[in-house]
Amino acid sequence: MKRPTAVALAAPAASRAETAVPTPRSVIPDGCNMGTLLRVALGVNAAAFVLTIAVARTEILPGFLGAAAVIEPVLLATLLTWCFLRRLALPFGAIVQRLLAWSTPALFTLLLLELFGLAGQGVRGELVFGYFALATGAGAAIQHYLELRARAFSPAVTEAKLQALQSRIRPHFFFNALNAALAIVRADPPRAERMLESIAELLRAVMGDVRKLVPLEQELDLCRRYVEIEQTRLGERLVVDWQVGAVHPRAKVPQLLLQPIIENAVRYGAEKVAGHCEIIVRVRQHGFRLEVFVSNPIAREPIQREGNQIGLANIRGRLALIYDLEATLETRVRRERFELTLSIPVENKPDA
């Protein structure tokens, strides 16, 4: 599947691979994106409210409700249209795309006024023109804001931020893993061999393109290899209960998305708490969302738990960069266990 690329990336080979943050080829706002939807809806309604206060002065609520009767349908229709236009307008240049985006709300406003027969009776031409100008202005302002925002989160900037967040994977782990591999190299060469292979896999993932989408199965395999290394290191103390339900065979996730979550569980479950440690990992797909649940025992003293938040902040930061508002991460402590629930949209694209 070939796609025109508007922004040339420094690494041509890498940019061909599917990435979690799409290159902004389109300047039309993505009306289907939850983040865009919320931002636009909130922004427009807040602006309308302020405007009503300024104009109506006395009857604020009826005034706002009257305006909302026009604004809400136009808003929804515009977002929906943008969602489709975004794909359809790809062959056109940025200027045409911008004009299309700006005119959408104005056209819907006119259509609505026409439908309710407002244009013909009672309402004066100036007022219709006023609505038209207001809608165009709002459309332009929203499109401009979102385009600037998309630039601020341009692939280069996002990648730099992602790299910074990702590079915090602990060197500690690699040295301990190598130490464990060295320990079994004389007694159990085949096992040491497998362990070194796994270490290499993890190193490759850590050093690879952080935005690369990989099949879920591959990410899970990496997690299993990671756990296997930790089990060699920590012995029988660490038990992981994998509950992987049916997922779409082509489901994809950003590389190294799940591993840090499991690493966090091992770190604060097995390394800070003495004795037996059971970690539960549950992966399920509900429609277009992937739900991951991880539960691990936790130290009794709050002091020992503190570092946990740093690891989590890192994971949250990455999720926000990749998924904006479409990912949710909830955590809670229950019966001396730490429970984490992650929900992300599944990328279900067929292979290129």
């Binding site: 301990n176 190598l178 130490n179 464990a180 320990a183 007694a187 920590l234 012995g235």
Partner: protein
């Protein structure tokens, strides 16, 4: 011949050190006295086996290596300590500065032999160790106290209050009393987050404070006039501890949730 004790919570790490020690035997005559998989067991093994050297892992779930070493430093028969760690920037910097010996995992046999070649026992209340611990910001989770010739550990969590007497500090837990030679000031410095000073001579665990009661002033039988003051009521003990006038505002503020 050097008697060596291996301490690490990871079985392969212990196995690796045992292999390397075996490799080192031609250069440095030594014998493996034993292995321990945690801090508490390490202290117990030191008392039982009397090793000359302890190879001590820094990160262990039950007790950090630095704390183990601090408890070892308080003993009369003190083994030499060589720390081992995989990668820990802060710890490494602290060691560089204080020149305590440490090995990086994966450990190389030449490096191990060299470290064993220049072992010297910990000196009493090793000041370097204290400095390393302070620069790492690690407070102990236990206090070492000597009782009838034996060293025992008192979990800091169990302590209700600490009170300076003439030469010692009394450690009061909900079940019994211990004595320590450590000063109240240094204990306050290390555990300032868990304890609040209520008087020149006493620290009380924040979580053990039940409430306060005002005691009226008056004249005692010997004719001395005393002013009114406040006392701390404890959760687990009937003891009442007087709060000095100077500390009262601090104590009151600290007790607020």
């Amino acid at each position: 011949m050097l008697k060596v004790l291996i301490v690490d919570d990871e079985p392969p790490a212990r196995a690796r050190l045992a292999q390397l020690l075996a490799d080192c035997t031609p250069q440095v005559p030594l014998a493996i006295a034993g292995e321990a998989d945690g801090g508490f067991r390490a202290l117990e093994a030191v008392d039982r086996l009397g090793p000359d050297v302890v190879l001590l892992d820094i990160h262990m779930p039950d007790m950090e290596g630095i704390e183990v070493a601090r408890h070892l430093a308080a003993r009369e028969q003190r083994p030499a300590v060589i720390f081992t760690t995989a990668f820990d920037e802060h710890a490494l910097q602290a060691f560089e500065v204080q020149a305590l010996d440490y090995l990086l995992k994966p450990v190389r046999s030449e490096r191990l032999a060299a470290a064993l070649g220049r072992v010297k026992p910990l000196s009493a209340h090793e000041p370097k160790l204290e400095e390393v611990a302070r620069s790492l910001g690690t407070a102990r989770n236990n206090l070492t106290v000597s009782e009838r010739g034996r060293m025992i550990l008192v979990p800091v969590d169990d302590i209700v209050f600490l009170r300076a007497e003439l030469k010692y500090v009394t450690i009061r837990t909900s079940s019994r009393e211990h004595l320590t030679e450590e000063s109240l000031t240094s204990l306050e410095g290390e555990f300032g987050e868990r304890f609040v000073r209520i008087h020149r001579n006493a620290l009380v665990a924040r979580k053990s404070i039940h409430g306060f009661q005002r005691v009226k002033g008056g004249t005692d039988p010997e004719g001395e006039v005393s002013e009114g003051h406040w006392e701390v009521l404890l959760k687990d003990l009937p003891d009442r501890l007087p709060i000095s006038r100077r500390q009262w505002p601090t104590v009151k503020a600290a007790a607020k949730p």
